[in-house]
């Protein structure tokens, strides 16, 4: 740790981190464009300049250097002194802002970035309200640089964050700087578009409205969005994300800073993978069948009906005829509640880990990197909570079997009652499973999208997408990461946690944290959860 003095105030920071980072961490709003903690240092935007005390080259006497220094490029050293709140520094900020705005179009009303734009914010806070520019602005067209991204060249501030991202993080090098001086532009080689599994991050790190996401383009003004802290369900990496939503519709996902897991990034598969939330095949209301008679009872009546039918079934057929298939898309809390209910009803029942979707190989970035050099990995295990469910199963003990064994046994008539949880964003029911469940009298299907099991099920429960649920997922690294719900379930639906909570015999509102406490009391492994640190307000 080093102690440095910023504007006369002592600040403690890690040795050798950029002075800019130390100041931002300590609450200063130091304007910056080119600096990003996840990229190399360019020191090209000149917005972060500060006055610095340093030894005179000849006399070695400490004094304020006549020139301003880039604080992003100066490592913090013990005893160092810098000044930020001075006229000289502020004048530089004004000059820089004027320069950035020279050719900048007056686009904010039609610009997607407006409302979360650091050109707007910094102009307001550090710039001058008036422009002295009398000449015509340079104008350049926007470029379609890839399947998911547009580049509005005229809004660029040339921070080169995006170029450094493709060079250093994705390792795909698609972006380059073309031309020079005031004609400098970001561009790709024609025909080699920005198209890699991590490209969406360039939109996040672009401090202005130059790089924009086609998927979100003109969908919603950002100030109308609310945000929920969540965890990406796309793969076992478990990136911390933000779910931006409005009117119960998810508009976009953005990564949250989560050091050691996803740092500042997320992959495109996760980023755009939420569209199934609005799938027309979603199950929205519960169905209860008795013989050929199907009804959609009130949610309030359901716990009692379920408990009654299961207890009756166990009385008539014995507890070992019962099985529950848990899904790696369930949260730990939901899984725990279901296990509670099943084992309460029949301690001998069989617990099963549902199918774990695997696709291809893991992908590491920068492309071609190995070992320490890897900055991000997309895992081939395409579900968020296999480990969480495994932890629950391990703690539950008793009768258990693999999914394949379950299908085989069920086909052989070993089970007469089963609770099968899906929640997979894709079709997942195999022919074998479909056939095997024909032998099950009391079948509960809890799933997101309609499937063939539902036609013969005694109970059909709509599962919610992760954006509508709350709880925690355990990622590949074993970190237990809580997530919040963003939107409400579709009309007629209910959060899985809520109905499982009631079916398991609890009263009142389901709350992830409360259930986690109950769970942790019985399974100590769930005591320690992982929550990413809050990023300083002025960091970006």
């Amino acid at each position: 740790m080093a102690k440095i003095i910023i504007d006369g105030q002592e600040v403690e920071c890690r040795d050798n981190i950029p002075v800019l980072q130390a100041a931002v961490d300590a609450g200063w709003d130091v304007p910056h464009y080119c600096y990003h903690p996840g990229l190399s240092i360019a020191a090209s935007c000149r917005l972060c300049l500060m006055e610095m005390k340093m030894p005179h080259p000849q006399t070695k006497e400490m004094g304020w250097a006549p020139k301003l220094m880039p604080s992003c490029q100066t490592p913090a050293r013990e005893g160092m002194e810098v000044r930020f709140a001075t006229e000289k520094v502020q004048q530089n900020q004004k000059n820089c802002m004027e320069f950035f705005l020279l050719n900048h179009p007056l686009d904010c009303p039609v610009c997607d970035q407006a409302g979360e734009c650091h050109l707007q914010d910094y102009s307001y806070k550090f710039g001058d309200p008036e422009s002295r520019m009398v000449d015509q602005k340079l104008k350049n067209p926007k470029k379609d640089i890839g399947p998911n991204t547009l580049l509005y060249s005229d809004r660029c501030v040339m921070c080169t964050r995006c170029v450094r991202f493709t060079d250093e993080v994705s390792g795909t090098h698609e972006l380059g700087l073309v031309n020079r001086g005031s004609r400098l532009e970001i561009d790709v080689f024609p025909g080699l578009p920005l198209d890699n599994p991590m490209q969406g991050n360039v939109v996040d790190i672009c401090p202005v409205g130059c790089l924009l996401d086609k998927d979100f383009l003109f969908q919603r003004r950002v100030w109308e969005l609310s945000t929920a802290s969540s965890i990406c369900p796309g793969c076992a990496t478990g990136c911390a994300i933000r779910v931006d939503h409005a009117d119960d519709k998810v508009y976009r996902l953005k990564p949250r800073y989560n050091p050691g897991i996803n740092d500042w990034w997320m992959c495109d598969e996760g980023r755009y993978g939420f569209k199934y939330i609005e799938d027309s095949k979603r199950v929205t209301s519960p169905i209860v069948r008795r013989g050929l008679d199907a009804t959609s009872p009130e949610w309030a009546d359901i716990p009692e009906i379920v408990q009654f039918r299961f207890e009756q079934h166990v009385r008539e057929n014995g507890g070992e005829k019962l099985a529950a298939v848990l899904s790696p898309f369930m949260s730990c809390e939901e899984g725990w509640l279901l296990i509670e209910f099943m084992r309460e009803t029949a301690p001998e029942c069989t617990l099963v880990m549902g199918p774990v979707p695997m696709e291809g190989d893991d992908q590491s970035f920068p492309v071609g990197a190995t070992g320490d050099k890897v900055k991000f990995t997309i895992l081939n295990e395409k579900c968020p909570n296999r480990r969480g469910v495994e932890m629950l199963l391990e703690a539950a003990g008793g009768n258990q079997c693999s999914f394949d064994e379950f299908v085989e046994k069920a086909g052989g008539g070993s089970f007469t009652a089963a609770w099968i949880v899906g929640g997979y964003p894709k079709e997942w029911v195999s022919k074998e499973l479909n056939k095997a469940t024909g032998k099950i009298d009391l079948l509960v299907v809890q799933d997101l999208l309609q499937n063939s099991l539902m036609t013969s099920a005694a109970f059909v429960f709509p599962a919610c997408s992760w954006a509508e649920r709350e709880g925690s997922f355990v990622n590949a690294g074993g970190q237990i990461q809580p997530f919040d719900w963003a939107t409400n379930p579709p009309e007629g639906g209910r959060r899985d946690g809520q109905y499982l909570y009631e079916i398991a015999g609890y009263a009142g509102l389901y709350n992830g944290e409360r259930v986690r406490k109950l769970m942790a009391a019985k399974i100590p492994a769930f005591k320690e959860i992982h929550e990413p640190p809050v990023r300083p307000v002025h960091a970006h």
Binding site: P141, D154, H173, G176, L177, V188, F189, L192
Partner: protein, 213 residues
């Protein structure tokens, strides 16, 4: 201009086109590898070689250079576009360089440039369809005292007025250099009012100063 979209997904080169760099040229580029720590470092010499060989560096050549150096083609266009020296399309027989810097601008350089563009029918860094002229602009041609200036190949035209443009372009000898000798170093001894080799009277200030001594 955000209402116009340039489509960058479209390739600039035909993937089935035969290679444009000869095997010998490729070999010459590779032969520089031992001189540098990285292959990437050979980029600038390679660009010079290709431009010297082909006259310019077409998209196809950029891709081939990138393949040889094991870098992304975007890094090649990145470097090429930084230097006006490198041409991505054929250069004309004569390159006209108009000055766009301060002295020339205040003395009417902009009007001269516009007139050039009008008469040639091309923009900056472009070449006329007949291949005779290319037009570029540069910062200061070091002839400020005779602003506005323009260069045709290596011949400096001084104090160019809009109405001179037509005549200069029509002149077949508009790039012929009549090298003036330096009064300070080359003047024959004893001759205070020096003449240059072309027989024209020198306009140099130095000569005037000497004469008035």
């Amino acid at each position: 201009m955000s209402w116009i979209t340039v489509n960058r997904n479209e390739p600039a080169i035909d993937p089935n086109a035969p290679p444009i760099l000869s095997a010998a040229l490729c070999e010459k580029i590779r032969s520089l590898f031992p001189r540098y720590d990285t292959k990437r470092a050979v980029l600038l010499p390679a660009l010079h070689m290709v431009q010297d060989g082909l006259g310019h560096i077409p998209w196809q050549a950029m891709k081939e250079i990138a393949d040889i150096l094991e870098i992304h083609p975007s890094d090649v266009i990145d470097t090429i576009s930084f230097y006006t020296h490198f041409w991505t399309h054929p250069k004309g027989m004569k390159v006209i360089t108009a000055c766009r810097s301060v002295s020339c601008e205040t003395m009417g350089g902009v009007a001269v440039l516009l007139e050039l563009k009008k008469q040639l029918g091309i923009g900056e860094h472009e070449t006329t369809p007949d291949g005779r002229f290319s037009l570029v602009t540069e910062e200061c041609l070091a002839g400020c005292d005779h602003a506005p200036c323009l260069l045709i190949n290596e011949k400096l035209h001084r104090c160019v007025k809009v109405e001179d443009v037509g005549r200069i372009l029509a002149d077949d000898n508009n790039d012929r250099i009549s090298q003036k000798r330096s009064d300070l170093f080359d003047a024959p001894a004893g001759d205070s009012k020096s003449k240059d080799v072309s027989g024209l009277e020198s306009t140099s200030d130095v000569a005037e100063m000497k004469a008035s001594e």
